[in-house]
Symmetry: C2
Subunit: 238 residues, 2 copies
DNA sequence: CGGACCATTGATAATTGTCAAAATTCGTGG
DNA sequence: CCACGAATTTTGACAATTATCAATGGTCCG
């Protein structure tokens, strides 16, 4: 295998073509930028970022998933995002020297592409399209946060459980003739920390849903949903 | 008063100089853009935007405050943002045709400056600095949302009350030799909808804090805080 | 001064958190 | 491929917190 062909393979398999925000670059520039990118790999459970640490790069997830979370005053962790292929973080620190506002930990083996802040900034000034795409992506993420805030503000936990099942079905669900199978990105404790409730409460709610025949627990990380309409009914009008 | 001088006065008093995202424009361009801007006024209680409505402009708040909120399945409203002078909304819809994701209602008399989507887009391509500023501003707003999500995920309502008091002290507080006076942007019901708890719970918690000598209610919308450190202690480690 | 609106307080019910024990699942190594 | 131990999850009982409903008390404004 020649070095050059390996390099092309890189370009296809690494960040470039996976990351929407870079997809407007032409081949020439892609090559230039490729040289600036540093790669990192993390094992499951490893930390990609600690809350309050200084940051100097924008990190793009190339493979795997990671959770972003904050530690709450009462000692839990509140999960904010689940990053997967093509997502990025560190952009908040692009134009200020503020420290990280959350921690990021790998949920699976993760590969990242990192770009130093200064270099990324240059990119933005050179390609307004990239900035425009980032604005669009940040908009999506904000909408997600706004929904989460609405959802977590709902006092009825049943609604919240319904919402999270809908969300996960969209992101991690596969269709089957039995129904929809959700591959949960994390354990029950993760679900609890995403919802902002106690682990045991999640267990109880899931058990109840299983008794009612609305979901079926295949194993700790897979759930079968025969009829998605019933979940929507539980989630309420969203 | 001559028309021309009035116009200059406009430039000073209207959006241009109040809005950080436009402040990088030179005078020439400011003038051009001024012609594109349409102004609106709203009375207290009037709606600036309805959730799920189509949008075609970016709206910049020039005077007054407004709340952005979503209706929850259980019939409450969850407040997401309090917009004041210099804040903007509608940017999510800049590059997609998605409908509004929240409602916006005036808390006081409000004046806005509106820019049509297409025209705003052109601005972004012409001035990458504006896009960069918007990214920065969106980053700030996301950080605020992330904090809110963390805060509301905390099961201990006392912590949450503490957090909101800290936040409001920063945004709406004035120093006094008696301590800090917070001018609440809205009623108890508003506070409750911001926190995601029942109105009565807010009353009870405030009463309790007053009994403990930590706050002093001057009237329905003003609170005196003699010692901010005690509030920080209640909010917990943030 | 009066009326409408908003805030407070009380009593009770419902929900969820907490702690502890039992059951299940998962991964590893034989 | 099975078995074992560790980790995670489920379940139960109880305590704590908050929502709800209803009535009272205040405040603001014309």
């Amino acid at each position: 295998m020649v070095a050059h062909s390996k390099c092309n393979r890189c370009m296809d398999r690494l960040c470039m073509h996976k990351v929407p925000i870079l997809s407007s670059l032409d081949k020439e520039d892609l090559k230039k930028i490729m040289k600036l990118i540093r790669h990192h790999e993390y094992e499951k459970g490893e930390m990609l970022l600690f809350d309050k640490d200084a940051m100097n790069s924008v990190v793009i997830i190339n493979e795997g998933t990671a959770k972003a979370y904050k530690n709450t005053p009462d000692g839990r962790e509140q999960i904010l995002y689940i990053f997967s292929e093509g997502d990025f973080f560190g952009e908040q620190n692009l134009f200020s020297n503020q420290a990280a506002t959350y921690s990021v930990q790998a949920l699976q083996p993760v590969k990242t592409c990192n770009l130093y802040r200064d270099q990324f900034q240059e990119l933005l000034y050179k390609y307004p399209e990239i900035a425009v795409k980032i604005i669009g992506e940040l908009g999506n993420r904000m909408t997600r946060l706004e929904n989460a805030l609405q959802s977590i503000g709902v006092r009825n936990v049943d609604n919240r459980i319904g919402s999270i099942l809908l969300e996960f079905a969209q992101k991690y669900g596969t269709r089957d003739r039995m129904g929809t199978i959700i591959h949960l990105p994390f354990s029950r404790e993760g679900v609890a920390n995403y919802l902002g409730v106690a682990r045991e409460t999640v267990s109880r709610k899931f058990s109840q849903l299983e008794n009612d025949g609305i979901i079926q627990s295949l194993n700790n990380k897979e759930i079968l949903i025969p009829d998605m309409n019933k979940i929507e009914a539980i989630a309420g009008t969203n």
